[in-house]
Amino acid sequence: MINSFFNPVKELFRGLYITAKNSLKDNVTLLYPEKKKNMNKFFRGKIQYIKENCIKCKLCQRVCPSKNTIQIDKYYSINYAQCIFCGNCVEYCPRQALILTPNYELASENKNDLIFKEELI
């Protein structure tokens, strides 16, 4: 009966010991604004459109899960507010006209600078 009383008390102190042991380890926070993690080349950040090697085959528009983020008529426009950055278009584009950039700071105050538009002659 005795250790049925002292056992829980021992466990309580063990809990305190664990939190103390963890407090001695160094902290793991990434100081974001000053130090940034470097992304490898597979990271799916902002999608960049290169006009030169685009042959306007509209395959990227057909492969994109959210149906009309990429519109190709007089303009080539990508609507970043709607894009889910899944990388399908970059993968299936035959001419590598779209590349992935490791830029993820895309927050903005108004919606229309989230839409990328480029003149297609």
Binding site: L12, G15, L16, I18, T19, A20, N22, S23, K25, D26, N27, V28, T29, L31
Partner: protein, 358 residues
């Protein structure tokens, strides 16, 4: 307070005016002192908990985040205070005051230094307990008047909890009073002067443990923080409050923590006696009244160091334990703590008798 009244005597005001001016001055002094300690306490808690979980606490404001709680309180000051439609306006408005004013009164009773200007009274330790039970009504009215189911449950829970934890506390107080012989806090502290071996905690270790657990219940700290437990009742009794009223409730809770810790140090760990028996100020023994202030400052230093040690222990517990179940706490109070307190009472009487013989 008495110091201020002597200065007033020189300008020969009428005596009832001196009495009231003294009280008002001391009241303002104490509220400023409370607000400063509470701001430091809130910031200390966030940094201290951050240290436990291997992250950095607030460090954007001030040099290393020291002005963080000042920013919080000013923001709460400027916020719009909302009056919920179906809440009873008068009770809704008055209850933060009912919670906050007694906490300030509690500070008047605690003797911070031997010649401190607190309210000297023969039964100050008992008076402390009496005033401590007034915030219960504030919490209850705050909960029930804001008409949301969560705050009603929170209000009822916290008032049951505080009432059921006051009985073991008073029993332990009786055991301490029997041991020291007086009800007055100053005399209790003088009884414990000398090296730290004759503090009250060593003959009365069981009493200290019971008092510590009950104070955790009274302060709504972590193993027993039922009223504002995030996961169950969304925000407990201060669910409907915003802006200044919420700030008052928030400050009252932290001030209560600090006051109960000072009360514990006064009862068990020799309030302002230095652990090594003599004061640094005696060495200088300058006799032009300056050593009198130096002695007070050192005593103030000792009592705040001991309270901070206790608060660090409480916050350490907050970082590492889940929450009790509500009926288990009541069970703990009624079935375990009260018999233990009575047993502790008998042990104290026996030790007192033994000490009497030797």
């Amino acid at each position: 307070m008495y110091l201020f009244q002597e200065i007033l005597l020189k300008y020969n005001f009428s005596d009832w005016f001196i009495f009231i001016a003294g009280l008002v001055f001391y009241f303002i002094l104490i509220t400023i002192f409370i607000i400063i300690t509470v701001l430091i306490l809130v910031l200390f808690e966030r940094k201290y908990l951050a240290m436990f979980t291997r992250r950095i606490g607030p460090n954007r404001t001030g040099i290393r985040g020291c002005l963080q709680t000042i920013a919080d309180s000013f923001k709460l000051l400027f916020k719009e205070n909302i009056k919920p439609a179906n809440a009873e306006q008068f009770l809704y408005f008055i209850s933060p005051l009912i919670v906050f004013i007694p906490v300030i009164l509690l500070w008047l009773i605690i003797p911070f230094t031997s010649e401190s200007a607190n309210y000297q009274s023969q039964i100050s330790s008992f008076l402390f307990l009496a005033v401590l039970s007034i915030p219960v009504f504030g919490v209850l009215t705050a909960g029930c008047s804001s008409m949301s189911k969560y705050s009603i449950l929170g209000g009822i829970r916290s008032c049951i909890q505080i009432i059921s934890s006051e009985i073991p506390v008073s029993l332990v107080l009786v055991s301490v009073v029997i041991f020291t012989g007086t009800l007055d806090l100053n005399n209790i502290i003088n009884f414990q002067s000398g090296i730290f071996l004759n503090w009250n905690i060593f003959p009365n270790i069981l009493g200290f443990v019971i008092f510590f657990i009950c104070s955790l219940i009274m302060m709504n700290r972590t193993p027993f923080d039922f009223p504002e437990s995030e996961s169950e009742l969304v925000a407990g009794y201060h669910c409907e409050y915003s802006g200044m009223k919420f700030a008052m409730l928030f400050l009252a809770e932290y001030a209560l923590t600090f006051v109960i810790c000072t009360y514990m140090t006064a009862l068990f760990m020799g309030g302002y006696n230095s652990p090594v028996g003599f004061y640094l100020a005696d060495l200088f023994n300058l006799n032009n009244g300056f050593d009198y202030i130096l002695k007070n400052i050192e005593q103030l230093f000792w009592i705040s160091i001991k309270t901070f040690l206790l608060i660090m222990l409480i916050m350490w517990i907050r970082a590492s334990y889940p929450r009790f179940r509500f009926d288990k706490t009541l069970e703990l109070c009624w079935y375990i703590l009260i018999p233990l307190a009575v047993f502790n009472l008998c042990v104290e009487i026996f030790i007192k008798y033994l000490r009497g013989i030797l």
